[in-house]
C-alpha cells in the first residue's frame, strides 16, 4: 500500500501527526497554505496556563520536521479533496494512501458584532491583536499611550445565537485570564476588568490561574456581558454592561477593550465535506466518526482528522490528536 500520507495543514496537529507518522515508517507530506509551518500558533506569544513561549512548542516541532526530512509544501492552499488526496489551488493533485485533515479553525470576525465597535473605534482590539502586540513587544493604546484601564469581554462569537454560534470555544476563558495577567504584568498600575457570562476553567492549572488572576493580580471579574460600546471624545471606549450580581447597569470608560474572540469552523470545511463525502457538524466544525473511539476518524476510508478541525481544542489536545491520528493511519496502512 502507498505509504505516502497527505497532511492538510501545518499547524501543531499537522506537524505532530507528520512526525509520529514518519516514526512509524510512513511518508507524510504537509500541505501548508502559509509560507511557514505553525498555523495559528505563529501569531501567539505565550501559552496558557504556564506562560510557555509559543516558540518553545513550535521550534522543536519545526526542527523535528526538518531533521526527519519530511516533505513540506508551503504556500499550498488546498481547494478540495480528491480520491486519495487533496487538490491544490491551481489544480495540482497531491495523493497518497491516506489523508489527515488538520486544517484547524477560523478566528471569529469581531466586526460582525458591530455594537462592540471593532474596526470602528480605535481602541477596540481582539485577543489576536493583543498576542501580536505582545510579540511585537509593544502594547499601547491607539493614541500610543499606556493603558490605565483595560476591559476584556468574553464569549465574542461564542455561545451567541445572533452569529449562529451555539458552541463554546472552550479556550477563550483561559485566554482572557492569561492575557489579563500579562497585561497586568506589563502595566502593574492598570485596572483590568474581565466581563464574562460564565467562567469555564476546564483544564489542569486553569482554575488555579483564574484564582491567581483574582488574588495576586487583582483582575476584576464582572459577571455581565457588554452590550454596547462607544467612543468618547478623547478616543477611549465607553462600555455598558449589567453587573448581574448587583442587578444594576454598569458603565465605564476604558483605554482598551479586548474582545476575546472565539473559534469557528474552518472556511474550507464545506468544500472538504462536499468533495470528500464528509459531514460538517451543526457548529461548523467537521463531524468525526464518533466522540470516543473514532474521534480522529472521519467515517470515510482513508480520511482522518486531528486538531481543531473537529472542535475547539487547546494546544495540548491538538498535539495529542496528532499522535493519535498517526496510530490510526499507521494501522490503516498496515505499517
Amino acid at each position: 500500500m502507498d505509504k505516502r500520507v497527505v497532511i492538510i495543514g501545518g499547524g501543531v496537529a499537522g506537524m505532530q501527526a507528520a512526525l509520529a507518522l514518519k516514526e512509524r515508517g510512513a511518508e507524510p507530506v504537509i500541505l501548508e497554505k502559509e509560507e511557514r509551518l505553525g498555523g495559528k500558533l505563529r501569531d501567539w506569544h505565550r501559552l496558557f496556563p504556564t506562560f510557555t513561549p509559543a516558540a518553545e512548542v513550535l521550534e522543536p516541532l519545526r526542527e523535528g520536521i526538518a531533521r526527519a526530512g519530511i516533505e513540506v509544501r508551503t504556500g499550498a492552499e488546498v481547494e478540495c479533496l480528491s480520491e486519495g488526496g487533496a487538490v491544490l489551488r491551481g489544480g495540482e493533485c497531491i495523493e497518497g494512501g491516506a489523508t489527515v485533515i488538520c486544517s484547524g479553525f477560523d478566528v471569529f470576525d469581531a466586526r460582525i458584532k458591530e455594537e462592540y465597535g471593532y474596526g470602528i473605534y480605535d481602541n477596540v482590539f481582539t485577543t489576536v491583536d493583543v498576542e501580536r502586540m505582545f510579540n511585537e513587544g509593544r502594547v499601547a493604546t491607539a493614541q500610543g499611550g499606556v493603558p490605565q484601564r483595560i476591559a476584556f469581554l468574553h464569549c465574542v462569537g461564542s455561545r451567541d445565537e445572533k452569529v449562529g454560534a451555539h458552541h463554546c470555544s472552550k479556550v477563550c476563558c483561559i485566554t482572557g485570564v492569561k492575557q489579563a495577567i500579562e497585561m497586568k504584568e506589563m502595566f502593574p498600575s492598570a485596572e483590568i476588568y474581565n466581563f464574562y457570562m460564565d467562567i469555564r476553567m476546564f483544564g489542569p492549572g486553569y482554575e488555579e490561574l483564574y484564582r491567581r488572576a483574582q488574588l495576586e493580580y487583582n483582575i476584576n471579574f464582572v459577571r455581565g456581558r457588554i452590550s454596547e460600546a462607544s467612543q468618547t471624545i478623547d478616543g477611549r471606549v465607553q462600555i455598558k454592561a449589567e453587573d448581574t450580581l448587583v442587578g444594576r447597569p454598569l458603565k465605564m470608560t476604558v483605554d482598551m477593550l479586548v474582545l476575546i474572540v472565539g473559534m469557528k469552523g474552518g472556511s474550507r470545511n464545506v468544500a472538504f465535506a462536499g468533495s470528500g463525502g464528509l459531514t460538517v457538524a451543526d457548529n461548523g466544525f467537521m463531524q468525526p466518526q464518533d466522540s470516543f473511539l473514532g474521534n480522529v476518524s472521519s467515517g470515510r476510508k482513508g480520511i482522518f482528522y486531528a486538531g481543531t478541525v473537529t472542535a475547539p481544542k487547546n494546544i495540548g489536545e491538538s498535539l495529542n490528536e496528532g499522535v493519535a491520528v498517526a496510530a490510526r493511519v499507521a494501522s490503516y496502512l498496515g505499517l
Binding site: E114, E115, I120, V163, G164, E228, S230
Partner: protein
Amino acid sequence: MAYYDSFVIPFLAGTVFMFAVIAWKWCRWIWLLPSEDKRAISKGVFTSATPKAVWEVISESLLHRKIFRVNPLLGYMHMSLAFGWFLLIVVGWIEAAVELGAGTPLHAHVFFRYFDPGAHAGGNPFATVMDLLLLMVLSGVVLAWFKRVRSRAMGMKRTTRHVLVDRVALTALWFVFPLRLAAESFMAAIKHNGGFLTGGLGDLIAAHMDPAVIAGVNSVLWWLYSFALGTFFVAMPFSRYMHIFTEIPLIFLRRYKVRSGDHTKSFDNFQIQACSRCGICIDPCQLQRDLGIGDVQSVYFLRDRRYGRLSDKVLDNCLMCGRCEVKCPVGIELNTLRSNSRQERVDSPALTRYDYLKGTDRSSGSGRVGYFAGCMTLLTPVTLRSMERIFAAAGEDVWWADRDGASCCGRPLKLSGEVNAARRIMEYNKEQFAAHGISTLVTSCPICLKVFREDYALEGIEVLHHTEYILRLLEQGRIALNAGDTVYTYHDPCELGRGSGIYDEPRQILGMAGKLVEPEHSRSDAMCCGSSLANTVIDDGQQLRIGAAMTTELERTGAGCIVTACPLCKKAIVRNATLPVADISQIVAERLQVSGT
C-alpha cells in the same frame, strides 16, 4: 297576478331578506360613524370626489382592473362574474321592460324567459346578447372551479380556506348560472325563445326528449334556479360575498377622505366587509412563504375580526411589512386595522407609566438640525459615526438627541397596540424637540421616522430620514462623493419604503457612489428582513429564516456590497450575508470628497 308563478318565492324571499340586512348594516354603520367622518362625507358629496367614486366603482367593483394587474386570467374570472352578472341584470331588465312594458314585477325580469309571452322564432337580438352574457358568466364560473383545483395557473400559489357560510354561498353561486342555462334551455325547448346558446340547446332537447318530460324537468329547473338564487341571497350578507355591495360605499367614503385610525370605529366595518377573501394577500406574506405559517394573513385577520373570534395568535403574528396591503385589490388599510385591533385589546390608560422621562435630558450639542439616531442605531455605531462625519463635512451644527441613549420614539409600543402609553412617550420627545429649538429633525431609523411624521405633529420642524437629508446635502453641493465602481444592491426597509414612500432617495445616492443593481423584489414589493418590531410571535430562528431568504435574493444580484437604510434590517442582513453590508450613510461617509479637492 300577472307574470307570477310560485317558484319565484325563494328568489323573492331571498332578495327581500338580503336587501333588508344590507340596508340595516349600512344604515347602522353610517349612523355610528364619528361626527368628523360624517362631516367629511357631507363636505365631499358635492365635489369631484363623487364622480371619481362612480368611475372607481365601475372600474374596480365591476371590471376589477387591479386584479387584472395581478394576473389577467384571475382578473377575467372576477370581471366575468361581477360585470357579466351585472350586465345580465341590466340587459334582462331592458328586455323585460321592452317586451312586457314598464312596471312589471322584479321576478319577471329575472325569470324573463319563463314569462316571455311571445315566441321569437329565429331572431331575438336580446336573446343573443343575454346568451353571450350568460356564456361570459359561465366561463367565469368554470375558471372559479379551475382555480379551486389549480390556483397556480391563475397566479396564486395559495388560496383562502373558507368558512361554512362562504361554502354555502359559493356552492349556491356555482349552481345559479348552470341552472339558469338549463332552465332557459328547457324553456327554449318549449317556447323556442332562446338565443344561440339556450335556443340551440333547446332545439337539441326538443329533438330528443318527450314533451311531457321536458315540461316536468322545466318546472323543476326553474324552481331549482330560484332556490339557488334565494339561498345565495340569504347567505350573502353573512358571507364574503357581502363585499359585492360593501365595496361600493367604501369607495365613496374613501373618496370623501374617511380613513381608519388608531382606534377602531364604525368605518372599519366597511373595510372589513369589503374583503372578498380573494386570498391575494396570502402569497406575498413571508410568514407563509418562508415559515409556512398559513393562518394569520390579512384575509384571516379580517375574517376573524368580522366574526368576532380574533385570537392573539392571528392578531400578533404579522410583520406589518405592508407587502399584502400594497397588493390588496380592494385597497383595505390592513395594517391600520390590525393596529387598531391590537389597540382595542391591550391599551390601558397608563397615565403615569413614563413619568420617569420627565426632566431627563441626555442630549448634547446644539444646532438647528436635530439628529435622533434611534435605539437600534446605537447598536450599529458605524451609522452613527458616518452621520457624524457627514454632518461635519457639511458644516452642520447638530443637536444630538440620543447619542448617549434616550427615550424610545414610541412606535414599537404603538405597534403592539399601546397607543395611549406611546402617546406619553411622544409628548415627552416633542417637548425635547421644542425645547432645543430645532427646525429639522434627521433620524437614521425608519421606524422613528414614520412615527415622527405621522403622530408627532411637529409644527415648524421638518422630519427627514438620513437618506433624504444626505441627498439634499448632495444636491445643495454641501457634500460631494467620489464615485467608484462598486456594485451595490439596495434593500428597501419596509418602514422606509412602503411605510414612508422613500424609494428614490437612497437609489439616487447610490447612483452617485457607484453602480446599483436591483434584487428580484424591490421598491413596494421589497421583502421584509423579518426583524419587524410589529411581530412579537415569531422566534429568533424564524426571524433568521425570513432574513436568510431575503438576503439570498440580495446576494444573487451579483452586487459587491449590500446597502440598506435601517439599523434593524442591517442587523438582520449581517447575520446571513457573506457580502459586506453597509448602511447607506456608511457608503456616503466613506466616499466623501474632502473639501478643497
